[in-house]
């Protein structure tokens, strides 16, 4: 990026074109004249301006969150571009922290078993994502590629789920998931889903599924029929074609649906809060963990900030991995039509 950026900035300032005769024109005017002559330059300049703008606006709050984390708890006042209490002169005195509190990133794990909360969230999000992608793929395939009576109404039915505040589902579900179901007794301690990952995976799968269904419907519908045909001729079933050809070709859509679902579940709070008792051993997720730093009155903002920075890392890694799937031009070279 940095290389490219400097390149881009050259575009603004580089003034050594010999064909520019008027010396007394202002820099900006000269630049404007050039851009009119060479629209590519304008696009490039625009592009870098936009990139930098987006980077600054999205990253700044993170930067600030980091500063909040580094601020010693007692000083959580007037946190600016540097943590409050930051004092570079302390370095001279051998204080490497310069008045900040990097130890907070350890506190995150010593106050509560935060890693276990992360693990819980990770497992629940992974399982949910897999379930959602599989089930939504079937539905997306049906809605995107097949014609059958009742398609419109059925899609609407899926959509309607998202019309309701999640709270509207909760009270009946609470009864359901706390019911002691005898056949579940061998698997679950008291035969109810409370305090088990199932109590989260099941509702999340349903509640986050409509989005994935719609995303996948859109993407699957755009894969040319010819490719599915070719797969079927080669000997797959219709389902085989879905998983071997349509899904890989819709990788941007599948990866996006996956990432969105994963993140949503990873950070979900409402259901997981009510479906577990909040303890790490009982599959409480990461947000429950973060809220453990919040006392009746006293809130450890700095530890919460640090914890959320730590907690975001797996998602960042996921995005890095998933984006490799969101690669360009997948359908190029497939068809002559």
């Amino acid at each position: 990026m940095s290389l490219e950026q400097t390149d881009g900035q050259k575009v603004y300032t580089n003034d050594d074109d010999s064909e520019e005769p008027e010396i007394d024109r202002g820099l900006f005017e000269a630049w404007a004249a050039k851009t009119i002559k060479n629209p590519k330059r304008t696009y490039k300049a625009l592009f870098y301006t936009a990139t930098i703008f987006f980077l600054v606006t999205t990253l700044f709050p993170f930067y600030w969150l980091f500063m909040v984390a580094l601020t010693p708890r007692r000083n959580l006042q007037d946190v600016g571009l540097v943590p409050s209490g930051f004092d570079p002169s302390l370095l001279a005195q051998g204080d490497l922290t310069m008045g900040t509190n990097p130890g907070v990133f350890l506190e995150v794990f010593t106050i509560i078993p935060f890693h276990r909360y992360m693990f819980n969230s990770f497992v629940i999000a992974t399982v949910t994502t897999i379930v959602v992608i599989i089930v939504a793929s079937l539905a997306g395939y049906v809605f995107g590629r097949l014609r059958f009576p009742g398609k419109g109404p059925l899609m609407l039915l899926v959509l309607i789920v998202s019309f309701f505040p999640p709270a509207a589902f909760f009270i009946p579900l609470n009864d359901l998931f706390n019911t002691n179901i005898d056949i579940l007794r061998p698997i679950l301690a008291d035969g109810s889903l409370y305090n088990t990952p199932y109590a989260m995976v099941v509702p999340f799968s349903a509640i986050f599924m409509p989005l994935s269904i719609f995303i996948l419907t859109t993407f699957y519908s755009q894969i040319p029929d010819g490719l599915e045909d070719a797969a079927r001729i080669e000997g797959t079933t219709r389902l085989g074609a879905l998983f071997r050809v349509i899904m890989p070709l819709s990788a941007p859509g599948v990866a996006t649906a996956g990432v969105l679902t994963f993140i949503a579940v990873y950070n979900e709070f409402f259901f997981s809060f009510l479906m577990t008792d909040g303890s790490a051993d009982n599959w409480a997720p990461i947000v429950d963990g973060i809220l453990q730093y919040q006392g009746q009155y006293e809130v450890l903002f700095n530890v919460m900030a640090a914890a959320s920075i730590v907690g975001v890392l797996p998602v960042a890694i996921l995005v890095v991995v998933a984006q490799e799937k969101i690669v360009s031009g997948l359908t190029a070279g497939a068809l002559k039509e």
Binding site: L3, F54, D78, L176, A206, Q222, T237, L239, P252, A316
Partner: protein
């Protein structure tokens, strides 16, 4: 088929073999419609259990009277009374869904309580503004990410990252930022005259904070989906367009936009629905009492301590109805968009 069928598996029925084969063959032979219904079963089973059943139960709840004390959480059947009460303000809700008073002067209506304190207005204004800005910004971000440049993967992570932040933390972040003793947000906004002294105590200022917080976080959602749409455009179409003389803007308008449209509409559709159910960011930034949304009222009714399940369920259904009205517009568009499928 004649030469070497020694040690070569059968030509017909490739995916078969094993326990499944009978089932798979049966499935393969289903008519398109039957096959469609079959594949929809898992999804709809899940939805039936976790969504449709609870919703029906909530619907029933909305037709029963509130019962704030006693062992039974719900009273007798009251028909649509809860719904009517919600509109007339005759409920135990801590904020008005809508409070419009009749006057004798033109336009014969006036807001009983200010704009930013009515759940309906907050919900609508929030949804419209946030979706508008998120779409524009998300599209911009997606366009940037769609370019090939060095470091693109890192820029992509950076832009997606806000979406990965739990709402609680997002709320905390903006809360602290606008907490005058901690952050500098209020100061800046006050100095440019946008905010009053205590933004988090002002419904209007808090509304803007919540809006900005949501845009910051959720533009990434839009960007991700739109980017995926952009990536699915067959590059050779751009070649054709270029040779036909299309400028970048024309390529965007005539090729990119129509092909991305279905993905864009899905993104906007779900963002709109989400925005109209906004709750978490409000509660963790400015609190529902400062910026009440429809969902705030539902949560308040169901979990607020005063047990008013009937009213809360009615508000939930009213929220759904409101969303339904909005969504109808999208659905119409959806049908029109190329590659649309409903």
């Amino acid at each position: 088929m004649a030469t070497d069928h020694t040690n070569s598996p059968a030509e017909t029925g490739a995916d078969s073999g094993g326990v499944f084969s009978g089932f798979l063959t049966w499935m393969e032979n289903l008519s398109e419609a039957a096959y469609a219904y079959l594949l929809l079963i898992p999804g709809f089973l899940l939805l039936a259990l976790v969504a449709f059943y609870p919703l029906l139960s909530t619907l029933r709840m909305s037709l029963l009277a509130d019962e704030t004390r006693g062992a039974e959480p719900l009273g007798g059947f009251v028909g649509l009374e809860n719904y009517i009460d919600v509109f007339t303000g005759d409920t135990r809700l801590s904020r008005q869904v809508i409070d419009v008073a009749l006057t004798s002067d033109f336009p014969f209506l006036e807001l009983g309580t200010p704009f930013f304190r009515q759940a309906l207005f907050v919900t609508l204004a929030f949804a419209i503004l946030s979706v508008l800005f998120e779409t524009i910004i998300g599209f911009g971000q997606a366009m940037v990410l769609n370019q090939e440049f060095e470091g693109r993967r890192w820029v992509r992570v950076a832009i997606i990252l806000p979406w990965a932040i739990p709402i609680v933390i997002q709320g905390m972040l903006f809360f602290l930022m606008f907490q005058p003793t901690v952050g500098f947000g209020s100061e800046i906004m006050q100095s440019i005259g946008l905010f009053g002294d205590n933004p988090l105590a002002s419904s209007r200022d808090s509304f803007i904070i919540v809006l900005v917080a949501d845009i910051w976080k959720t533009s990434a959602f839009m960007a991700l989906l739109i980017l995926a749409g952009l990536q699915s455009v067959d590059r050779s179409l751009y070649d054709v367009a270029k040779v036909s003389g299309a400028t970048p803007w024309q390529r965007f308008k005539l090729i990119t936009l129509p092909i991305v449209m279905p993905a864009l509409i899905v993104a906007m559709l779900f963002r709109t629905m989400d925005a109209m159910r906004v709750y978490g960011i409000i509660e963790s930034t400015a609190s529902c009492s400062t910026v009440p949304s429809m969902t705030c009222l539902v949560i308040d009714g169901l979990f607020g301590g005063t047990r008013i399940y009937g009213t809360a369920a009615a508000v939930a259904f009213l929220t759904a109805a409101l969303i339904g009205v909005f969504i109808a517009v999208y659905l119409a568009k959806f049908r029109d968009s190329e590659g649309g499928f409903m």
